[in-house]
Symmetry: C2
Subunit: 252 residues, 2 copies
């Protein structure tokens, strides 16, 4: 396991629980490598020249920016399949390795929060059929939602995930700040957040859009924009998202 961040941590633990042996954990920072490696009985390394090359799989769970430089340092003679876990990086950055692929878990990981890996979609791509079969076997051991996905689709999936997860979380943060400033508890809005997420488990989000923008209630929107006048960035966001809702409505 190359990396010791959120993805590396959750993935290494899920693999270990499924019976796989984590041989080594690499991080530029040996303490971070040790924190992940030692509970799993793995060796911590901070120098890729110490990499054990006789392994079934080498997983680059490092930041997208670091993938090329880490890949550069790996021996070209690796017999195992070399994969990265990135949504956005094309598979072919790993072209130098005869067997390569992608093992992309579509989930938001925080180190402090446990996740049920079995429900996490794993997007798989491989250079050849044997590698794909290997990735599928490993994936099925930890998740019920593994699927084949080419690099172009994976990019779309990652962008969609940024909208549905990262950006959504930012809107929660804006709501939390607005409430706090006005002496209201963030708890008040939690049932609404859950209901909004639960609603789209069964229904098309464009079909269940509610609120002033989709109703074309310009007076309410004007009051809200006026309320936000001291926060020009949130005001712009309010305007742009409201326009987006109206454009979606008009397309249907």
């Amino acid at each position: 396991m190359l990396g010791s961040g959120n993805v590396a941590t959750h993935l290494a633990n899920a693999l270990a629980r499924a019976g796989h042996r984590i041989v080594q954990v690499y991080s530029r920072n040996i303490e971070n490598a040790s924190l992940l490696a030692h509970p799993l009985g793995a060796q911590a390394i901070d120098d890729l020249r110490h990499l054990d090359t006789v392994v079934d799989m080498v997983i680059l769970a490092v930041s997208d920016d670091a993938i090329p430089s880490v890949a550069e340092q790996l021996p070209r003679t690796l017999s195992g399949v070399v994969v990265h876990t990135s949504g956005t990086t094309p598979m072919d950055v790993l072209q130098p390795f005869s067997r390569h692929g992608v093992f992309y878990p579509l989930q938001t990981f925080s180190k402090s929060k446990a996740v049920d890996f079995r429900s996490i979609p794993l997007a798989l791509e491989a250079s050849d059929d044997a590698s794909m079969a290997q990735l599928e076997a490993v994936a099925k051991g930890i998740s019920d939602a593994a699927f084949a996905c080419d690099s172009a689709q994976r990019l779309a999936l990652h962008v969609a995930a940024v909208f549905a997860c990262n950006f959504t979380n930012h809107l929660y943060a804006v709501a939390a700040a607005l409430l706090e400033r006005n002496g209201l508890a963030f708890d008040l809005i939690k049932p609404l957040v859950m209901e909004t997420a639960q609603k789209i488990m069964a229904l098309d989000p464009a079909q269940v859009q509610t609120g002033p923008a989709v109703r074309g209630d310009q007076k309410t929107m004007d009051k809200h924009l006026e309320f936000l006048k001291k926060d020009p960035e949130w005001q712009r966001l309010y305007g742009l998202l409201s326009e987006g809702i109206q454009a979606t409505r008009n397309k249907r």
Copy 2:
């Protein structure tokens, strides 16, 4: 009950289940009034001159725009408390009535989807103590989350709800469209949506922000912006939300 839309429907049904008698349902469209009124044993009316004035409570569950004109048509001699259900409209639009208030359920209602009213926060405001006591008694019969809230706080609450619910749902719709275009099922992203919502039940959203923007991963953001180049509106949204995430991070 004046109105027959989503709020009127869910609220009238919750009140009836709690043992309150719905006397009349008003709508400009008599068929809509009948659809809500008849299963509840109430009378449907489409002319406010037929309003039964001897009731404990008159609820204006109409669109914000319609509140002034409906209020205008009500006899000033109503003995009951006259309330509206709007997040954004100040209480004092009901000033002409000696007893008035606000009964604002903070939830997103769709007619087709049942909601558990007991967990819905109800923001209450009233012109006088007796009316407040009456609203509290009614509210507690249907919800475990009633609370007092002045008009300024209610506006903040509504704006926060638009961010956390309406805008969030629009981001789900954008994600759904991106996936569909690329031959991917919307189902793939559902575990991520639930995890993102569930995470903030216990944790501060600003603290658990993930994704390329909070990591400062400009290369990934550039790839995503390039991917969105044929959808300039979504591209602007991506840029503005990413900037917002970075501004929030820098403030902490």
